[in-house]
Every structure is written in C-alpha cells, then in structure tokens.
Symmetry: C2
Subunit: 255 residues, 2 copies
DNA sequence: ACGTCGATCTCGAAC
DNA sequence: GTTCGAGGTCGACGT
C-alpha cells in the first residue's frame, strides 16, 4: 500500500517523511533540491528537479532527468534524518566506514510516495563466468579433445586463483583462464602470472589457454609473445550445455 | 508539472504511459512486475513490487526495495514501447550495440508519475585523479624536491597515456602514475608498461613513481620487483593546494 | 565504431 | 575488519 501526496507544503512533507523513515518505508520524492556530499570525495549539486529514492536498508539515490547513474547516492546502512529548516526540508544520510554524509535540501516537493513494498521474487542471472566454468567442467571437450580438468580451483600463491587446472591428452599441464567477454591483454598477463609460478614448481610442460567468446585485437600479440593459446567459447553454448546437463540430472531422477 | 495517478487499471496505465513515452517524459512506476533481460547476459526476475524509473534519454532502472544497485536496467539510448497484453502492461526497452532487450511485465500498478523535470543545476565533484594531477603540476615538490614536470601528457604508443612525465634534480627521467585511491598492483603493471616503452626510446635512466594516498600490501612486492617507487599523497592535500593556487590566481586578478 | 581507464565505483568472497 | 577481483559494470576520452 502506497501513501501518495502531491504538491505538499514543506511542513507537511517534513512530517510525512519523518513517519515514513521511522516505518522504514521505501520513499520516493520528486522535487526541486540541492545536494551536498562529503566523504570519500566531495560534491555539490545546485538547484534542480530530481527523483530521490530512499530504501529501507538506508540506501539513497538522487536521479537527474537523464543518465543511468545517480548523480548522488549512498550505499545501504545509512542513518536517515529529516529536518524542516525555514522553508526547506533537509534530508541527511550519514554512515560510518567510510565516514560520509549526503545532504539533500528541498525547496519544493511535487510528489512524495512511500510504503512497504513486498518483493520476494527470485532473481536469476544466466551465463556468468562461473557458469561458463561449470559448463567446461561438465563438457571438457569444449576446450579441446582429451582435456581433463583436475581440481576445480588451484590456489597459486600470491596471485589468486586459476579458473581451471587440468591435463591434456599428452599429459601436459593445462591452465585455463575463462572470460565471459572478449579477452583483453590483462587476461593474458593474469594467466601468465599463474603460469610462471606453476612452472617453477612443476617439471613438465605447462600450457596456458584463454577461453573466451572473442579475443581483442590488442591481446593477440600479447598472447603470442607469452605463448598462450586461445579457445573461442560462446556463453550461449555454455548455457545450452548447462541446460542439457540439468535435464540429464532431472531425467535420472525421473527414470 | 507532474501527472500522478494511483491504482490504475491496466488499460488506463497502458494509455497514459504510451503518451508519457511519446512526450519523452520522465516516468516513475510502482507496481507488481516480472522482468526479463536478454543481451550480454540473460536474467529473469519473478513477480514482486518494485520501483521503475524510465528517463527521457531511454535509460531504465528497476529497483527492488533494498540495495543501491538496480536489479535490472538499461543504459541510455533505448527504444521504449508499451503494450497491453491481456491483463498486463508490457514495457520493452531495446537497444543495439550491444543488442539487448529488457522486458517488464506489470500485473498491478500502484503509481504512475510522469512529467518533464527541469534540472540545469551545476554538478561539481572535488578531488578526482585529474585534480591530483593539477595539484602536482602546481606544486611539483609534492612528488619530491627538485622534480620538474615536462609535458602534461606524453603519449606512449599503444599503451595510452602517462599521468605526468618529468625530470628529477639529477636529470633522470621520471614517469608518474597517479592513483586517487590506494594503489593496487595494476597501477604498477600499468606504469611498468609505459616505462618499458620509454626505456627503448631514451638513453638515460628512467624512474617510475606511483603517487597515491596509500599502497596495498599486495602491490608492494610488485613495485619492488619492478623497481618502481612509491610516494604518498592524500587527495585532501591536493585540494588545499588547488584552493590556495586558485586563491592566488584570484588575488592576482583582484590586486 | 572500438579500446583504455577512472569511479564517492558496488558487491561479494576469502583471508 | 581488510583485501581482492568481478561486473550485463557505466561513462569519458582518445583513436
């Protein structure tokens, strides 16, 4: 249930918002405001009409009429306060760690809408880098015939993780770096770091393969000089394989 | 001026939104919806109450009741369409490059608010990396005594730009990489790329210095192995210097 | 158009 | 708590 008001006086707005924040409602305000921010950086935004959204977890967004990104904002866990100062409504949002404060001053408010939204719907994102990895583990031939993954993740001291670690059909070690998007040269340099570490520990050839849907032109010479191979793999193909393996698992249960 | 309606029927909503999009209004919708996204990745979001904002530049945000980030979105330049399908309102936002589509299906709408917002207020952000650079150019001793910047930017083939390029008091070349936040190892590797290029062209010693408010622990060994130096510099200090140089300039005009 | 890099990045996971 | 890497990153700037 939404409480909607338009063209309120500043004192009406201040009182209403006070109650909405106390009830931890989601709050939408459209009005003419000025914004100041002080924290990791500092900023000022002069008067103008914007959309402000304040959520129950203490996150805040101030949106101008254009652009995907909020002009000013605070991440969750802010403490919100409302004050009426003369003919303006002041909303302050403060948080510790890092210490920062966002201040929004309204001189005119066209709309306030607040209430408790009920949202339990599941969100699912398909074909992330992690899922491409699952697909390769489910169908190693996506990389090449005879490839056998060893451990899902092999920790390499000081340099993080490899994506997949395995052996090829001739017994050479294979280290695979997966990228969901076209591989840039830092994919290569990252992988090269792993390879160097591993080669000091292991007494047999180690191949490095970048697996990605595409290869940036600038990355090509880098790969070549580092003797790192490239295997093309589209996320869509991974999705199909994941779907089919899921179906297989399901059919095993059914049968 | 804002057109505000609450608890509309789906056909009312479809008609109103149609007009709002044609007029390139900013549109706010609160209601129970389902969302699908298909493009660089794919996602589905099941039924739930959310806040949707659609801007005149074709950017879209779908916000759940918690979290700073939109659960689904589109950057500017989308083509928006509304359709009534049975008892639901369908909003589709498509863009090319990359080819992707966002579909929002409403089965209940608590609020629509739309109109043209007037926002010309200036936005100013203080102490960006660019401003730290300005501060160093204004006060080179921030880096070290006797440092002289040469050109503001020195293009290095294929690798982008250095931040500052200069000479130290002994005549050695100095290449500086500025970071606004604690320097990570990629600051070092980035700078190392520049240095390698320059060293093939120049016949005298070239020093590399990372200037940042802090240095991540993991970056320290990388810097050491690359023989890159670190100079601590806080954005706040840069801000003070910029302010004082501005004051100086101002006082020059005044006097 | 593509590539590179900064960001009040945010977010999550690992240590 | 800090550190580190990923992101449908976005956005800006240069080629």
């Amino acid at each position: 249930m939404l409480n909607i008001r338009s063209n309120l006086t500043m004192s009406e707005a201040a009182e209403l918002l006070e109650g909405a924040f106390r009830a931890r409602n989601l709050v939408i305000i459209v009005g003419n405001c000025r914004v100041e921010y002080e924290g990791r950086a500092s900023s000022t935004l002069e008067w103008g009409e914007r959309v402000t959204v304040i959520k129950k977890d203490g996150s805040i967004l101030v949106h101008r009429p254009t652009g995907y990104e909020p002009v000013n904002w605070q991440p969750p866990k802010c403490v919100i306060a409302v004050n009426q100062v003369d003919a303006t409504v002041l909303i302050t949002a403060s948080r510790a760690n890092p210490r920062e404060t966002l201040t929004i001053e309204f001189k005119q408010i066209s709309l306030t809408a607040f209430g408790s939204l009920s949202d339990t719907g599941e969100f699912a994102l398909y074909v992330t880098e992690a899922q491409m990895k699952q697909a390769i583990l489910a169908a190693p031939s996506l990389v090449e015939e005879g490839f056998k993954p060893l451990e899902e993740e092999k920790h390499v001291e000081d340099t993080g993780f490899t994506d997949i670690y395995g052996v090829d059909k001739t017994g050479f070690l294979v280290v695979i770096e997966i990228k969901r998007n076209a591989a840039t040269k830092d994919a290569a340099t990252q992988l090269y770091g792993y390879l160097e570490k591993i080669r000091t520990r292991v007494d047999r050839p180690v191949r490095g393969i970048v697996v990605a849907p595409d290869l940036r032109k600038s990355a090509q010479p880098v790969l070549q000089s580092m003797k790192i191979e490239f295997v093309k793999l589209d996320p869509e193909k991974c999705f199909k394989i994941l779907k089919s393996t899921k179906d297989m698992k399901l059919s095993q249960f059914i049968s």
